[in-house]
Structure formats: C-alpha cells, structure tokens
Symmetry: C2
Subunit: 403 residues, 2 copies
C-alpha cells in the first residue's frame, strides 16, 4: 500500500501541495530545522493537539487556525519547542505565522505553526525569519524529504508515507510526514504529524475523522509514558482531486476515513519502532475486553512498564512482568481466564506459566518485531498498543540531552 | 532517632521477639534466603497487602492470618515469589505456615508468610522445609540482621531500623526490616516490610494506624511505576512492654502512631534511595494542592517520568521535563501559578524559566540527595513522594535478570 516512491513524495504527493526544509541554525547540529508545507488552493484544516496543560505557544496559535476551518500552510521548526516561554513565546509563534503569511500572500490565521525541541528557550526569531523566507523560496513538489528531516529531533529517521484511493471516480492522494521518538505517550506526545490530501471534504467531517482516528492510532503509542507540551496532528485537504465534495458519512467518506486511518496507523507504528534507543518493536494486542477503554488501559499498562520494557531489551520471555502489569492496570480482570502469548506462543494461562519450547521462544524474543497477545476472556472488544523496549541507549540519550 | 545499634537489633529490638535468617538454597546465589520472626507471647497483627489482582499465593494466605487478628510468627523467603503458581502455589504457601507452626508449637493460622523473587516458579518445598526448621533452631535476639539479609533480592543493602518511645510510663520498642528495590510503586510493590513492637494495642486500632500510615509512606514511593504481586507490610504487637493497652485514639495512641509513622517513613526513604541502579535519591515535595490526592498525583507523575529520571541521572537541571510531567498528571493546574525548585532554587515560575546561578545549581544536581519542590498555588495541602533516578544500571539489572 505504501510504496517507496510515494514515501519520497510525502506531503507533496497530493495535487497542489509543495514543501521545503532548510537550515536556519536553530538545531545545534546545523541540520535542517525549518519546514514549510504549502497549498495554493485553500484547504480545509483539522487538528488534534496535546492535552498537556502546559501547552506550548505554537499549540495555542495553531488551535485558533484550526478553529477558522481553513489553512494555506504549515510552518514548523525543530531544535526549540517554544514551550514555557510565556508572552514572548506566544508572540514569537504568532510572528512565525506572520512571516510565512507575508511571503505566501495569505492571512496569518491561515498558517499552522509547530515547534519541537528543548523546553524553556525562546525561538531565535532572526534565524527563524531568514529560515522561513528561505523555505518559502525553496517550496517544490520534491521538498517533502527535506521538510521531514527538518522536523526530526532524536528520531533516527524521518517518518513519511503516501498513498492514493479512488473516491467517486477520482484519484485522491494522501501524503504525510511525522516525527517523534522520545516523550511519546498517548494523548499526543512530542509528536508532530502533518498530513496532506487533495480530497474535497467538509471541514467538520475532516475533523471528526481525524479526532476518531487519532484515538486508535497515535494515542495508542507509548514509548516512555511522557506526554509532550507540543504534540499535534494536522490534516490539510485542498480539494484539488476534484472529487464530489464529501459532505456526509457515506461510502465516499468511508473510503476517505479508512485511507486516512491507514496513514495514521502506518506512522504510529513507525514512531513506536523508532522510540529513543529502541531495539524492539512491540505490538501489544489486547482482546476479550469488555470495552475499548479497558483494552487500552491493559495494553498501556504493559507498554509503559519499565520492567516489561527492559525484559524485552534483554530478550527474556518474562511473562511474569507482563501479567503483573495486567494485574495493576486498574481494569478488573480474572487471572484465571487471562492468556498471554509471545509471538503466538502461549506462555501464561489458567493462572500459571505454560510449558513452551525454549528454542522457538528464543527465536521469537530475538526478533526485532514481537507481538504480545493478552486475551482477557471477559468480552469481545480489542485494542492494539504499539511500543518499544527500554535500552541503555534510552538512558544515554535522555541522560545526556542537556539543557 | 534511629541509632546504628538499634538498627542491628532490628525486629528483635522489642521485648519478646526473636529472629533468624538462613541459607536454604532457594536463591541461585547461595545467599541467605529464609527468614523467621517469632514472638512467644501472642501478638496483635495488622497487614496491608498489594492491590495487584494477580496477587501471589502468600498474600492470599497471609490475609487470612491477619483476619484472625493474632499471630506468633512471620516466615519469609527470597529467590522465588510463589506468584502465578495456581493451586500448587497456594498449597505451598499454606505448607510454609504449617511447617513453621509445627516447629514453633503454634497454629498455622498464626503464621504470616511472604515470598519475593521470580514469578511463575514453584517453591522448592524440600528446601523450604529444611530452611524453616533450621531458621527456627537459630532464632535469637541477634537474628535480625540475618533475617533482613534473607529477604533481599536486588537490594544493595538490607533495610532496618528500630526506635523506642515512652507510652504511659512504659518504654515501648519498635523494630523493622524491609526489602524492595525494583518493581516499587505506590499501593505496595515488591516490597516486604515486617515491623515488630512490644506495645500493647487493640488489633483494630493497630490495623487502622498501619493502613493510614501506609498511604503517606510506603505508597508514596515510586521507583519504576510497577506494582508487585507480592507486597506486604505487617506489624506484630505483642504487648510485652506492659503499657496500659491502647484501646482508643487517645494521647497514647498518638504517640504510638507517630512512632510507627516515623519507622515507615524512614524505611520508605531507604527503599527509594536503594532503587535498582539508583544514583540519586529524589524527594518530591508538592505543596499548594487542593487536596492530598491531587498533590500525590502530581508528585507521582514527576516521580514516574522516565525523562525526569534520566535527566537527574545525567545531573541536568531540566525543569522543562518536570513541568511537562506536572502538566499531564491529570490534575487541573495553573502553569502560571506553579513554581518549581531544585534544591530550594527557583527554576520555573510565572510560566517561564527563572534565571539561576549555574554554579549553585550544578552543585545541587551533583549531590546524591536532591529535593524537587513543586508549589501549585491552588490550595493548602502537601504531599511528599520519594523516588530515584534511572540509570544504565537499572536497564542492566532488569534486562539481565533472566527467567
């Protein structure tokens, strides 16, 4: 579904979108750090933002943009989160939008802004201004790779994908770039995801779809249980595909919805797999729950347990730590009806450990991708949480990332 | 208050108590692994147990003992948690009590049992039997140090303390041993704590005091956010001090309560300071909360954040991660009224970072004991959470602790 070629096209794969990423000197490393995504045709915009009460300035500015319902551009930077920066920070976030708007001949409340990086430091606005102007000059159909690289921080690679679907006889395209590897936890953690599409869709339906999809994709990732001040997922839909505008929850909407969901799921998995210092990608499938919240709680309890995470780093099939995390998840469970499987192999059932073939399990634990199945035997609802292990490298990255 | 001499006397410091710790071959290391604590005079017993639904067999057996209101002995082992061991595990936990009861000439429902170690493995009952018999033979007034060492797992040292207080003209003594370093989190996590006292006190009052004190001491520790299947805190009060029996919440009760609380606070701090791989002891004081639950939630959110824990390991005054964890704690806060201090030095106030003297803060961060003050400015309630940092060693200990 997601080809390499599409991936490179990224946010500029849908018709009418351009992108760029440039060096503005905000990252100490000197890497790309300012990105602009632009659509000449006005786009419907939807957004989901961090629930952290210490929300960064760009979050506050971008919420207002999403409230207007339309947007022409996204301006983002890495290297400085513009969080805990007070009135000056708010002014700087607004200024980011104003600079871009002036260059792009649009209104400043048509520009979504986003920042990621260190907390408590003011944006160097002189550098930002040069960077934004430079990025606008460099906007192109081939700019998505640079834009993707400009928003990463401790990520080991830039996440992107693109795909297409036929809606009402028209080819509708989707593209996306995302970043996020530390401080990732449900409810949006320093994760930025910018999605573009040339679909024509009512803004309210776009927001409904994005909000619902975020609950089962981005909010199902846990890397370290921390929730950032800066997270956001934004979709711009500019209608350039020429499909009959989607204005109701009909078959066209369903197609749109499932394609957007597949994009969000793909990026969620990539973000979890690239967790800081991660050596394992863990897919935790909880089934047999009475409801989704219970299933999610159980999955998150396991995903967030440092003891589980370090056991997987050590390739130790320590199911005791998994069932222990299930037991303290806060969800009423029955230890006797609960089954735990690693890579499809039963390791715990009927309240006790299950004899397994050590060779087979050793191979499962040695793999990069490991599935943990938790069957509660209480109901019919499932949920999947994506996570990673906890390594020396995680401690190194976060113990040495100095303010 | 807690002298070295008393510490050595430990659980045998109060009159009428004896203790022993022996090698039974349950720990792979060959270290001491079976402990017995005994009072000839029947003691009132109180207990607080793990809330993990996957409670280990000894927890289920000991709850019944506490329900009887009296006890003569505690038998504990390390090296095997006897958790997730089904009917066989339950039978083995009962058998531990039966073996001890036969040797001590008491009823088996007068014997509290406790286990800690690996989950999902059955107790080697032949070894247990020899061990318990041997421990009973070795019971002495000098046996607390061995008993303390017999219950540790990944602890770097055995925790113990003892003290005394005058109640109604009589000298009343208290002693305690405890273990716990990984999987420690509020609501009792693989933490064992056995407290003895020669006070004469009504069993119901003893239980009331212990339950209340546990909430503000042991349940305020967080090491890795995991809650064990095996935790328990038990108090035996044998009345040998000859004080007028405490049967109401009078001045005598207050003295008893505050002394028991000081014991529990002392051990809680020791357990947090000896967290697996810990290089820092963090005291998180949350003040200005509207109620205790809010203050605790904020403190725990900070204490459990891997990003905060790794920052302190790296001696980085990264207040951004602290205020971020405050912001997602689930408690309604006001970022502008919140103040964060490290070692008494303001680092965050009025929504932004505060300029501080780098040299002073560097010294604070380099110390072993660091106080984090979080003033919410919303009410008058405080809470203190004890925690530690996250180091390479934590990952090593838990990645290499193989099943």
């Amino acid at each position: 579904m997601f080809s390499e070629e599409h991936k490179t096209a990224g946010v500029a794969y849908p018709q009418g979108f351009k992108a760029a990423g440039v060096r503005a000197g905000i990252k100490k490393s000197g890497n790309l750090d300012v990105a602009v995504i632009y659509t000449e045709k006005e786009a419907a915009v939807a957004g989901v933002f961090t629930k952290n009460q210490v929300a960064a300035a760009p979050i506050r500015v971008s919420k207002i943009v999403v409230d207007t319902g339309t947007a022409h551009a996204i301006v983002a930077n890495a290297g400085c989160a513009n969080a805990c920066t007070g009135e000056q920070g708010l002014r700087n976030a607004e200024k980011m939008a104003e600079i871009a708007a002036a260059e792009l001949n649009c209104k400043s409340d048509d520009v979504v802004v986003a920042s990621t990086g260190i907390i408590g430091v003011n944006l160097p606005m002189d550098k930002m201004e040069v960077g934004i102007k430079n990025a606008v000059k460099n906007l192109s159909r081939e700019g998505s790779v640079n834009a993707g690289n400009a928003i990463v921080t401790t990520d080991t690679y830039s996440k992107s994908c693109a795909t297409e679907v036929e809606i009402g006889g028209k080819l509708v395209r989707f593209g996306a770039i995302a970043k996020g590897s530390g401080m990732i936890q449900p409810d949006m953690a320093t994760m930025l995801c910018f999605i573009t599409t040339d679909a024509d869709i009512d803004q309210k339906l776009l927001q409904t779809a994005l909000s619902k999809i975020t609950e089962v994709t981005f909010n199902m990732i846990s890397i370290d249980g921390d929730m950032s001040t800066n997270d956001m997922v934004t979709v711009l839909a500019n209608g350039a595909a020429g499909n009959a505008k989607i204005t109701a929850k009909n078959a066209d909407y369903e197609k749109f919805y499932s394609t957007l969901e597949s994009i969000c799921r793909e990026l969620s998995k990539k973000i979890a797999a690239d967790g800081e210092g991660a050596t394992k990608f863990l897919t935790i499938n909880v089934s047999g729950a009475e409801n989704f919240d219970d299933a999610k709680k159980v999955g998150m309890s396991v995903a967030k347990s440092p003891l589980v995470k370090t056991a997987f780093f050590g390739e130790d099939p320590n199911w005791g730590r998994v069932i222990c995390a299930v037991g303290y998840s806060g969800v009423k469970i029955n230890p006797s009806s609960t089954v735990v499987k690693f890579g499809g192999i039963e390791v715990y059932a009927h309240g006790v450990g299950v004899q397994y073939d050590e060779g087979t399990l050793k191979k499962i634990m040695a793999a990069h991708d490991i599935a943990i199945d938790i069957e509660l035997g209480l109901g019919n609802t499932s949920a999947t949480v994506w996570s990673c292990d906890f390594s020396y490298e995680y401690v190194k990255i976060n113990g040495e990332y100095h303010t």
